[in-house]
Amino acid sequence: MKYSVDENGYYGKFGGAYIPEMLYPNVEELKENYLSIIGSSDFKEEFDKLLRDYVGRPTPLFLAERLSQKYEAQIYLKREDLCHTGAHKVNNTIGQIILAKKLGKQKIIAETGAGQHGVATATVCALMGMECIVYMGKIDMERQRPNVERMRILGARVVPATSGSQTLKDATNEAMRHWINHPTDTHYIIGSVVGPHPYPDMVAKFQSVISEEIMNQLEAATGSPYPDYILACVGGGSNAAGAFYHFMDNEKVNLVAVEAAGHGVGSGESAATTALGKPGVLHGSKTLLMQTKDGQVVEPYSISAGLDYPGIGPIHAHLFDTGRVQFLNATDEEAMNAGIELSRQEGIIPAIESAHAFVALQKLDLTPNDTVVINLSGRGDKDLETYIQWGKY
């Protein structure tokens, strides 16, 4: 596949494993084993069974008729919001915890932004009876309170990251530091297609169940497995990587990623990495990164905690660089309006992250024959407080 990772862990000029030596043995252990483990039949059996019986897969592909009428296209929603725990994140945590068990690890750490990945990690740790520590930015803990309590109910310890901007980037720093200090018995479940190789590839593979199902479901519904467009929001980019995965080599499928523009791309308060970033190194990979001219990482902003990240997965940096994926962005206001519109048109309150993807409907030149799949990556329950404060409904 043209857009797959190469043997050195790179997607074009992005990727690699830029990690301190303290993490080298852990990452090397993963690199040496992940393909054989996830390719083995007993892994696949356990993974598929849990996705079916525990997560509730396959998630439906729903023809959104009122939205289709309004935007004059055939619009399907991939209902990842119906996954157990409320978002696509659990596809990856199921995969990684089975892998961790097979590597003989006893403890799990994770970082989280909106809390969805933290909840998905705490959930699978409870399921498997493993100890779980989740690092979360102090500010994110305040704005995603219900998810903090969900993690605690599930038995996880939530540790506030108090350095830097106290958001996802800093939670990731703290999780990496924890892993440096506990290198042998602990597996780090990274929640997005970021981090050192093999994480981006591994997470993309676990999330690729999304595009695999889309192909099957779309073929059953329309006779063709290939839509004209796939839309997904991008923070680090795990739901987008999963939704694009099986379509990347079919250039007839237009892939559209929507980043969070915050208060606007030029406002100084944004998280639109492809619009504002330059190549750089953060959290173990070379990728596009929002940074000052001196190479210091810029603190991003978005109303949505899950998109509030200054980088982007190296696979997306490559897909952007090659022009394979069209990158758009949506402001806080556009995303909130799109979220309320989806609630009114289809009776689905989306996560604010996912609402960003719906903004693309207004920005693309769609025709009535176009088949569009939007990856509805998460549900809005966790964002109720933000919707209430927004108030314009």
Partner: protein, 262 residues
């Protein structure tokens, strides 16, 4: 054939019979203009190598003390342009080896070639870039570093395999930075049997490069334990703590170094 530049690091290890003390501090900390004077005081007090930290917003290998010094240095306005300006007079003031230590991203943004030129121009002898992987170093950076006479210092840890330690030894000719334990900087207060046997194991490998032990060295006891089986030791967090509470840098640095070296 590898060209070996005999720089100040090689000269130090070729000539010294004592245990080497290398001291880390963050550029522009505690005050923006302290960089050169801290280096000068360290040499005067008896330090053998100084490591000047290039501050970064996301120092993942560092514990809270060095994180905080990085943040303060950045808040003070430190960046690589300014650091090299401050170091223009380095060799008028300091004659011991000087190493720059930091994360790779600011170096990439400054420009790798330009960075190496600036290092050579001010008289920097070596670099420690913890998140620059060995494979990338060998394919993309090695020849540039060598052209400008810069020794790249690799880290090893208790988890590093013997094969990899040998590869590290083959690919450097300054010294090896032996991280004392599985930790971020500053996390240890003493050394246990596990660490002592690791120091012994590496010592027994008879590497061509000297090894300096770093992480967790804070006083005379830990310095002696660390150097029993190595060429010397590196002190970072303990020195940063001293700097942050000092109101007489020259005097306090002198006492600190004297106490460590005995």
């Amino acid at each position: 054939m590898k060209v070996t530049h005999m720089n100040r690091i090689n000269t130090l290890f070729a000539n010294t019979r004592q245990k080497v003390l290398s001291v880390y501090f963050t550029a522009g900390f505690p005050n923006i203009d302290d960089t050169l004077s801290v280096a000068k005081h360290l040499e005067k007090a008896g330090a053998d190598i100084v490591e000047i930290g290039m501050p970064f917003s996301d120092p993942v290998a560092d514990g809270p003390t060095i994180q905080e010094s990085n943040k303060q240095a950045l808040d003070n306005g430190m960046n690589l342009e300014l650091l090299f300006k401050q170091l223009e007079k380095l060799r008028d003031n300091v004659s011991i080896p000087v190493i720059l230590m930091g994360y790779i991203n600011p170096v990439i943004q400054y420009g790798v070639e330009r960075f190496c030129q600036s290092c050579e121009a001010v008289g920097v002898d070596g670099l420690i870039l913890p998140d620059l992987p060995m494979a990338e170093y060998l394919t993309e950076y090695h020849s540039t570093f060598e052209k400008h006479g810069l020794k790249n210092v690799f880290l090893i840890t208790p988890q590093t395999s013997e094969d990899r330690i040998k590869t590290v030894d083959d690919n450097t000719d300054g010294f090896i930075y032996m991280v004392s334990s599985a930790s971020t900087t500053g996390a240890q207060s003493s050394f246990g049997d596990e660490q002592k046997s690791y120091f012994e194991k590496v010592n027994g490998m008879e590497l061509k490069n000297p090894a300096l032990v770093g992480f967790g060295i804070s006083n005379r006891t830990t310095f002696e334990q660390a150097t029993a089986y190595s060429a010397g030791a590196i002190v970072g967090s303990a020195f940063i703590k001293l700097l942050s509470k000092s109101d007489d840098l020259e005097n306090d640095i002198n006492t600190f170094v004297k106490e460590l070296k005995g």
